[in-house]
């Protein structure tokens, strides 16, 4: 941390900016503002407060980001790199494994939010209706999200085990033994099985957020609805849902983004198999960069860049679509 003395001085002249933070240096120019305008603008102090964060941001977020973009137009070998133009992008367009991974990830990211948020809403409404032991339920349901994906992954490898996993054990106990299968070993069931895992993990989290939103609803509105003789169903559809809608949409976007990034769970449980049925973009990038001994970091950077654009576009579209619907309805 910088010493207090340098901060108190706060020189009005532009101090030397950190390398790599375009713009920040531009902001420190200019005379010190009059002290009486109520809006303090001591640029030296501002810079001193921001410098550590901006340096870290520049060195470990902004620089790597641009370097990845640069990589994507090059063949990057351990000792040298050569410019290849759009070659990586052309290869990517025809890379079936990549598109397979994109499809898997998009299936995951578009189905999970629906499961998570819907179940979470039902649970939150149940607790909102003043069930005894609500506090206990809330704390218990939240636990799965505290465990790391590594722990959860190992747990669910056991849970889906063919011979003694609880899922198959339950099926056999119910006399549905013919439905028992190696859930993670079968290309048809592996992805749904993993989607179930993330749903298990994140529903409690969504529930807690929704419950908080429900509790912050204005009491008068709900009471007014009750005076108007609204039943539970009507109250839910016409009063509560529209009011918690922003939170719901927020959660959908949040869950979507989370699943677009998913790596750990897949890596621990299936490593993308069997037959690429659970390959996600994250695992594929990792494999291309660090597992397959191709030593080229350029191509995986291209995947990362294209994926970045896809994620960004998807998130912006979602946000925009939700905003638009909001406008249309009110």
């Amino acid at each position: 941390m910088t010493s207090t003395a340098t901060l108190r001085e706060a020189p009005p002249v532009a101090p030397v900016g950190a390398p790599g933070q375009a713009g920040a240096t531009g902001a420190v120019r200019g005379p010190a503002p009059p002290p009486d305008d109520g809006v303090p603008r001591p640029y030296g102090t501002i810079l001193a407060f921001l410098l550590p964060a901006l340096t870290l941001y520049a060195a470990f977020t902004a620089y790597p980001f641009f370097r990845t973009l640069w990589n994507s137009f090059h063949k990057v070998l351990p000792r040298r790199s050569e410019f290849v133009g759009l070659e990586n992008y052309a290869t990517l367009a025809g890379d079936e494994l990549f598109w397979r991974a994109v499809r898997n990830t998009l299936i995951w990211a578009s189905t999970s939010p629906l499961f998570e948020v819907t179940i979470a809403l039902l649970l939150a409404l149940a607790l909102y209706a003043k069930v005894p032991g609500a506090r206990f339920f809330r704390v218990a349901w939240f636990t799965p999200v505290l465990m790391s994906y590594v722990v959860v992954g190992i747990l669910f490898v056991w849970i889906y085990n063919y011979d003694w996993g609880p899922v198959n054990a339950a099926l056999r106990w119910l006399g549905l033994g013919e439905l028992a299968r190696a859930w993670l070993g079968n290309p048809n069931t592996a992805l749904p099985a993993l989607i179930a895992v993330t749903t298990w993990m994140w529903t409690g989290f969504n529930m807690v957020v929704l419950l908080a939103a429900l509790h912050s609803l204005p009491k008068e509105v709900i009471e007014a609805a009750e005076l108007d003789n609204c039943g539970w169903g009507q109250k839910l559809v016409f009063v509560i849902l529209p009011l918690v809608r922003p939170t719901l949409l927020n959660l959908v976007v949040l869950s979507f983004i989370g699943k677009m990034k998913i790596f750990d769970l897949v890596w621990i449980t299936t490593k993308g198999g069997p037959l690429w049925s659970t390959e996600t973009v994250s695992t594929y990038v990792y494999k291309r960069a660090f597992e397959w001994s191709t030593f080229d970091l350029g191509y995986p950077s291209t995947i990362a860049t294209v994926w970045f654009v896809i994620v960004l576009a998807a998130v912006l579209t979602l946000t925009y679509a939700f905003r638009l619907r909001e406008k249309l309805e009110y």
Binding site: R8, P42, F49, P64, I154, W158, A169, A212
Partner: protein
Amino acid sequence: MEVLRRSALLLALSLYTAFAAGPFVWAAMMSLRTTTEITRDHFALPIPAHFEKFPLAWFSSNYSVYFSNSAMIVLSAVLILTIVGAMAAHCFARYRFRLNRVLYFLIFSTIIFPPQITIIALFQILVQYGLYDTKAGLVAVYVAIQLPLTIYILETFFARIPSDLFDAARMDGYSEWAIFWRVSFPIALPAVATTVILNFILLWNEFLYAVVLITDEANRTLPLGIQRFMGDQLEDTGMIATGLMIAIVPVILVYAFFSEKLIQGMTAGAVK
């Protein structure tokens, strides 16, 4: 009728609780049983309880190393994050200057970045700087990835502190630094605690960056250690369960003492 509906509801909720907490309880039970016992019946109660398995897992594998690595890395990262993040958040919330919103937005927008967009280059950069496969390198990266969320949570809080307080402090002759350290920061302690707990949990569980940036056995964090442990003891279900529980214990402890704070932290980003 009402009673019937109530109990049906309670039953459904209890079923969901079993579903949500079951895997954890199951693992906890297995962590106290030997693999031979587990093979006989996977779902029996841990009677007699083999508590000696915990020291065994701790000493027979490298768990003490993984654990202290994780503790060291995560705690340093959280400490740096708190100070650096609070300084930046205070600055964004307190001072008006050109580029304020631009810089804030630039930092904040990285929340939605998929990690792949930086991770390959981070690997190259750390190799270049001699930080690859070091604890310091991982700490720096951890600080960088959690910085946006930390600043976001703190900025929201700092912005709500009435500015009269600062004017009064200034009249008392406080320097800008003293205002931050002795006025803003203490008032914001609830929000600071939230970010500390949130960052602790998220980084304690972090796997992707660790697996890319750490290879040496001596630098492995717990999630990497568990993965390794599982590879080594593939058939020894009982021992792996013990290993899992050791990794979960710190999180459970934090949860036991700060469950409300923790829930607040985890959900802070989601509610506007």
